[in-house]
């Protein structure tokens, strides 16, 4: 009375549909990871090239060197990586690896830009921002919002964000230098000064403007 064969066929069709969906999903996830890698490679080349150019020319050609990597490019990559991690795109290892690479690029960019700003007297400000994704940190989310708004308002401001739990010696060195503890997140480093906990946009804006002013005074 019951056509079991039909149930079996429908089961097989359903399994095939699931496998196809899984395959399509993997295909697109792979494409996205590929996209992330190519953005990252592009940024790496740019940083390396600026670094090399800077070493070759020293201070003679500041014009060509400055800001070879746009702050927004790094920012976009950061956002995409965060999203990928949250939505478990690809394998966890893959995204973790990309994140490590990203942190390293940020540190390199930070060091280079700092050097350039001193040598070429470019108006700039730097914020190192430490947050965590390991626990639900609403202060971190708020601070991130504040920083992205600030970054849009001041193109000369470069914000570098680091996940506290990144397993990379360079990031750990930064944490050591600024004595950042995981209990005090979010943490910001602005002009070598450590600020812990949430800081509002008005507060940070003042500090950033202060930092710009100091630079204007410096040349004298």
């Amino acid at each position: 009375m019951i056509d079991w064969k039909k149930y079996l066929i429908v089961l097989l069709i359903t399994i095939c549909l699931f496998l196809t969906a899984g395959y399509v999903s993997n295909y697109f996830a792979g494409k996205k990871i590929g996209q992330l890698k190519s953005i990252q490679d592009n940024i790496a080349i740019n940083i390396l090239s600026s670094e090399t150019q800077f070493s070759l020319l020293q201070e003679s050609s500041c014009k060509n060197v400055s800001a070879s990597v746009l702050s927004s490019e790094l920012d976009e990559l950061g956002r995409k990586l965060e999203w990928s991690q949250k939505n478990s795109l690809g394998s966890t290892d893959e995204v973790a690896y990309l994140k490590k690479y990203y942190s390293l690029l940020q540190i390199k960019d930070y060091l280079l830009m700092k050097k350039i700003s001193v040598s070429c007297k470019v108006k700039s400000a730097f914020i190192l921002y430490f947050y965590t994704t390991a626990e639900n940190c609403s202060e971190c989310k708020r601070e991130s919002l504040v920083l992205s708004t600030l970054r849009e308002k001041y193109p000369e401001l470069r914000v570098y964000s680091f996940d506290y739990s990144t397993d990379l010696s360079a990031v750990k060195a930064l944490l050591q230098i600024y004595k950042i503890k995981d209990t005090e997140l979010p943490a910001l480093v602005l002009d070598d000064e450590l600020l812990t906990g949430f800081h509002s946009i008005e507060e940070l804006e003042l500090s950033v403007k202060e930092s710009f002013k100091l630079q204007e005074v410096k040349p004298e």
Binding site: K6, L17, N87
Partner: protein, 414 residues
């Protein structure tokens, strides 16, 4: 914890796809057997049929309902109509008293006792071999009865034939959403008919052989869904129920969310409780597809709807939470930031594709249901109303029906 939710989510999605594919395969198997007759048909014999119209406060529609019966393309001397006023307190009495002079109409008044008692009075007074009911808020198409009777003529083993119920008025959004749902219902009912697994013989114009009631007894309360209970009882006793897709009955649907909620609460409560009453037939192969497909699908859909809805609520509150956080941090300026459109942020996890597939299969069900009901392949606006209305309302009546079942609280009829 998140892993457990993901596993449940994928299991429910898998089952939903299985069900939809099962219907589609049934359709492909039987598509040649679906005949839609347009013109008038004739029968070799016209057996006498009794149709009972139970009325409880139906003054607005009952006159038209009886008129639609009188207009049926069926010999007048073979059609007996019994009007039962089940203790109405409005003008129903006046409305039905207009039919006192008709030789084939009998009118009875009784104290209010519920729809099943009105139907049982009809059964007592019946002298024919076929019995049917027409709800006093529904109207029969002139060709409906003769088409239904042709099924009985063709196959003596058929014990009941259900018509295609569609919507007759669709002024409000809620009614439009139901129109699409009823179209889908026509499709699913036809497929369940092929599977021998129909679980409701709807109040609007299902016709039974007298033998059904002689053998199985009269209507029961059936948790206010007597038309479901009798179908369960018939399935348990291996009585064949068919669906006549081209016999149309038009029904008045609830016009507001509140009325719809009450109606659906009664239906779902009826489903849960009749299924509990007949749990002994679940997963027994001797009861056929009814036991291994229809009932489990109903149970699964209750779980899926509740689970998917809580997921939507969770995601929505997550989104609203982040908006509140942004507002709290940055003030009004955060509200006007347009998210940048970037295909990168389109979710490509496998369930996204599966859900798109489910939508396609459901839309197909509506389209083909409409083809059967209105004779045309066409999209309609009501299909777009269906998803939001039912996605946001059905979890509430489901939850309430489960809650009432646990506390043994019976929902009212209206």
């Amino acid at each position: 914890m998140a892993l457990i939710f993901d596993v449940i989510f994928y299991i429910l999605i898998f089952l939903s796809v299985f069900v939809q594919v099962f219907f589609l395969v049934t359709f492909l198997e039987n598509r040649k057997k679906i005949i839609i007759r347009n013109g008038k048909i004739t029968l070799k014999h016209y057996p006498a049929v009794t149709i009972t119209v139970p009325c409880w406060n139906e003054e607005k529609t009952v006159y038209k309902t009886v008129r639609s019966l009188l207009a049926l393309n069926y010999p007048k001397d073979k059609l007996k109509i019994i009007l039962v006023d089940d203790g109405s307190t409005d003008g129903t009495n006046n409305a039905i008293s207009k039919f006192t002079g008709y030789s084939n109409i009998q009118i009875f008044h009784k104290e209010n006792g519920g729809k099943y008692t009105a139907l049982n009075l009809g059964l007592e007074k019946m002298e024919t071999d076929f019995f049917g009911c027409l709800d006093a808020d529904s109207f029969a198409d002139p060709e409906s009865l003769v088409r239904i009777m042709s099924y009985f003529e063709k196959d003596p083993s058929i014990m009941a034939v259900a018509p295609s119920v569609t919507v007759c008025n669709f002024k409000t959004t809620i009614q439009n959403a139901q129109k699409a749902e009823y179209h889908m219902g026509v499709y699913f009912k036809k497929m369940l008919g092929f599977l021998g697994a129909i679980n409701v013989t709807p109040g609007p114009l299902t016709i039974f052989r007298k033998k059904v009631f002689d053998d199985l007894g009269p209507y029961r309360h059936g948790h206010n869904t007597e038309d479901m209970e009798i179908a369960y009882r018939m399935q348990k006793n291996h009585y064949k129920i068919e669906h006549c897709n081209d016999a149309f009955v038009y029904t008045n649907t609830p016009s507001s969310i509140k009325k719809l909620y009450k109606q659906r609460l009664r239906w779902i409560y009826g489903f849960i409780n009749n299924t509990l009453d007949y749990r002994s037939v679940l997963f027994r192969k001797k009861y056929g597809n009814f036991s291994v497909f229809t009932l489990p699908v109903g149970v699964i859909s209750i779980f899926s709807v509740s689970f998917f809805f809580s997921r939507i609520i969770y995601n929505a509150s997550d989104f609203i939470g982040s908006k509140i956080l942004a507002f709290d941090t940055l003030g009004w300026s955060s509200m006007f930031q347009m998210p940048r459109l970037d295909l990168f942020f389109f979710n490509v996890r496998s369930f996204s594709f599966i859900i798109i597939l489910i939508y396609f299969l459901v839309i197909f069900a509506m389209l083909f249901g409409r083809k059967m009901a209105e004779g045309k392949w066409a999209f309609s606006l009501s299909m777009f109303y269906f998803f939001p209305v039912f996605a946001f309302c059905s979890p509430f009546w489901l939850a309430k029906a489960v809650y009432n079942t646990i506390l043994k609280r019976r929902p009212n009829w209206r």
